[in-house]
Subunit: 229 residues, 2 copies
């Protein structure tokens, strides 16, 4: 689907060790736990606490966190706030990202009502739908525009990210328009494989693929339990 | 989040080589393309066609497909139908999987209207919501039940998979009820990390994590372009 899904390794900046996509995904998960713990008043955390939370061993946690610099204190652990700041900086979410959402159906409504985005520094600044019935309506204070306005809104609001939630048949055309308008990254929920130039990042969330992967894990577990008999 | 997200390698049946989670994800993607090509009348495909479609090289395609047995013909390629059957068998989707969906909000409606599931062999046999206003209503012919009926429906319909689309605060309680009712795999959309016993498979789709990962890729690309100057 994208170069990033196909090749699991992402290169760091020049000279830095390569960071696996799995490590980067764990960065997001460490961040979730740390933010919760910070709210609960935890000022210091250990690698084994983080490991327990993610179901991995603490050596892996220490290896992941070593990418952030020399942060842990032997015998003490990591300062929660320091680790949060380092993770947010490394992930590039230490500032707000503006995003647009194209295709205002049930999925879009679910995404907009899902509080997690604003909290993590993502701000939807425009909604787009080709349906003339929807254009002009508002959802949670955000107006739905015609797709003709994509380029203008993306330029005016300095938007880097787009979420594509249109039907499969329309998705490539929408992606092309987003790329032409200067978007830097696309999160695609349409069940189709999009083509974008290499300078544009793409992450695809195909919901049927997720369910299929789950079925595979269950299938595998059933096979293993049969083999073990 | 789950053992499967934390450890990217999945063990095959005894004695088989280990299959990476990335390969298994590509199996789903190969399958999507092959099914489309088959509809279009393509009886034979090559590893480079599949590689082009996924944006990877054909050596990786051949390596992935070697897990399915000795299927390719030198100088000819792969028979489309044979490869589809082998992939569906290996993924465990050569039969229908029954699933339940807990939490009937916008996301659930989006999932139910998304045609891909039925086509891939997934059948939703029950919807559940704790809101008494929703219980008894129907969506696309499927009735919404009270969560009290979970165990009865899961047993009666021989359900293996569950999709959790409730708010974060309710998700663990729902997962516990599903596990107690004998469910084998959970696809979690609630933005929280669920704990399930090791015999239950878990895949989590945290939508904020996906957007954060995309921001990271864009951030990385921006850094690399700065470094290159």
């Amino acid at each position: 689907m994208s170069k990033h899904d196909a090749t699991p390794e992402a290169n760091g900046a020049a000279g830095e060790p390569r960071l696996s996509r799995a490590s980067v995904q764990r960065f997001s998960l460490y961040l979730r736990h740390l933010e919760r713990w910070k709210k609960e008043g935890l000022e210091v955390v250990s690698s084994s606490q983080l490991g327990d939370a993610l179901g991995i061993n603490d050596a892996q946690v220490r290896k992941d966190l070593a990418y952030l610099g020399n942060l842990g204190q032997p015998g003490i652990g990591y300062y929660t706030q320091e680790l949060i700041s380092a993770l947010r900086y490394r992930l590039g979410v230490d500032h707000t990202w503006n995003a647009v959402l194209v295709g205002v159906g049930n999925l879009a409504r679910a995404l907009l009502r899902y509080g997690g985005f604003a909290q993590q520094g993502f701000r939807f600044v425009g909604l787009f739908d080709a349906d003339p019935q929807k254009v002009g309506q508002k959802i949670d204070g955000l107006q739905i525009h015609s797709p003709e306005k994509l380029a203008a809104v993306i330029a005016a609001e300095r938007v880097d990210l787009a979420v594509v939630a249109v039907p499969a048949a329309e998705a490539q055309q929408v992606a092309d328009a987003l790329v032409a308008a200067g978007i830097k990254g696309i999160l695609n929920f349409a069940p189709t494989l999009l083509r974008v130039p290499t300078h544009v990042s793409l992450i695809a969330v195909d919901l049927a693929v997720q369910l299929e992967q789950l079925a595979f894990l269950v299938h595998l577990a059933q096979q293993e339990s049969t083999d073990a008999r």
